[in-house]
């Protein structure tokens, strides 16, 4: 059963991720991203992270993807791109090589260490609290960790969010006199 859940969720995650990078239309990419995020949420549940699974669906699949779609529609870039032409020669082979190198590095690390989990779990003391216990305790435990050991970090994140809101307002504000791009204006004059 657990294996079935994992395999299905992993298939959804990987299919969605590949869909994000091969879709020619940005709207399709955003919808594939939703599939990936839901798959991740399922995996979170399978790993006893019930609160994070709920937050994942609400914040990521809800707010962030809707924000993406909103911007896509606002800017009117929901057109199909031409993915066949490659403006920069050799970019894709190089990217594939770099990706293979990255994956190889991760896999080597994984296979060197994957036998050590049991010994690590036995040898280290839990820093802020244990995860194991009844599933209904997940929210209480996470809240306790956030509001005791990580209280300072938690307060900093609230400052970060305020800064982000102010930054978004400043960036998206239209100036009183709509500025014209200097380069293009000069180009038009010279032609």
């Amino acid at each position: 059963m657990e294996l079935l859940v994992f395999v299905l969720a992993a298939a959804i995650v990987l299919t969605g991720a590949v869909g994000v990078i091969i879709s020619a239309n940005a709207v399709h990419s955003a919808l594939c991203l939703v599939a990936t995020l839901f798959g991740i949420a399922v995996l979170f549940v399978a790993e006893d992270a019930h609160f994070l699974a709920a937050v994942q669906v609400i914040v990521y699949a809800g707010a962030i993807v809707v924000l993406f779609l909103f911007v896509i529609m606002l800017l009117g870039v929901d057109r199909t791109e031409d993915l066949d032409t490659e403006p920069l020669g050799g970019q894709r082979p190089l990217a594939a090589a770099a990706g293979a190198g990255l994956l190889g590095l991760a896999l080597v690390t994984l296979f060197i260490t994957h036998r050590d989990f049991d010994t690590i779990a036995l040898g280290t003391k839990s820093s802020v609290g244990k995860l194991s216990g009844p599933a209904s305790d997940n929210v209480r435990k996470l809240g306790q960790a956030l509001f005791t050991d990580y209280l300072f970090a938690f307060e900093i994140t609230s400052v970060l969010l305020v800064i982000a809101v102010v930054a978004a307002v400043v960036l998206a504000r239209r100036a009183a006199t709509a500025p014209v791009d200097d380069d293009e204006a000069r180009l038009e004059v010279s032609q």
């Binding site: 990078i21 896999l107 802020v128």
Partner: protein, 108 residues
């Protein structure tokens, strides 16, 4: 080999493998795509891969700290998306249909 023997139920290794694959797909997408919005989605993919890894380690090491970190990553990701999309909107207003190549003119 070692993985095949543990087919009965998914071990942490399986989740870490999935996280590595997801991170790689996101990284390759970031290097290949030129639409700034799609590049941004690829960054989200990479962040999610890391979140999955954190949750896996929280479970494997029986430590709630891994999940607390994921909470903070979510907050930072939300802030990052807000600022990033603000920049993209400001950019696209000046130059409709700009790609990552056009943004290189910002370096002066």
């Amino acid at each position: 080999m070692a993985l095949a023997l543990e087919l009965a139920r998914p071990t942490p290794t399986w989740y870490l493998l999935l996280g590595a694959l997801l991170f790689t797909i996101g990284a390759v997408g970031l290097m290949v795509r030129r639409n700034p919005l799609v590049m941004f989605m690829c960054i989200e993919l990479m962040l999610n891969a890391v979140n999955l890894t954190f949750v896996t380690f929280a479970k494997a090491l029986d430590d709630i700290g891994g999940q607390a970190i994921v909470f903070f990553v979510l907050v930072v990701a939300a802030a990052e998306v807000v600022v990033g999309l603000g920049i993209i909107v400001a950019l696209m207003r000046r130059r409709p249909g700009a790609t990552a190549d056009d943004i290189s003119t910002l370096k002066g």
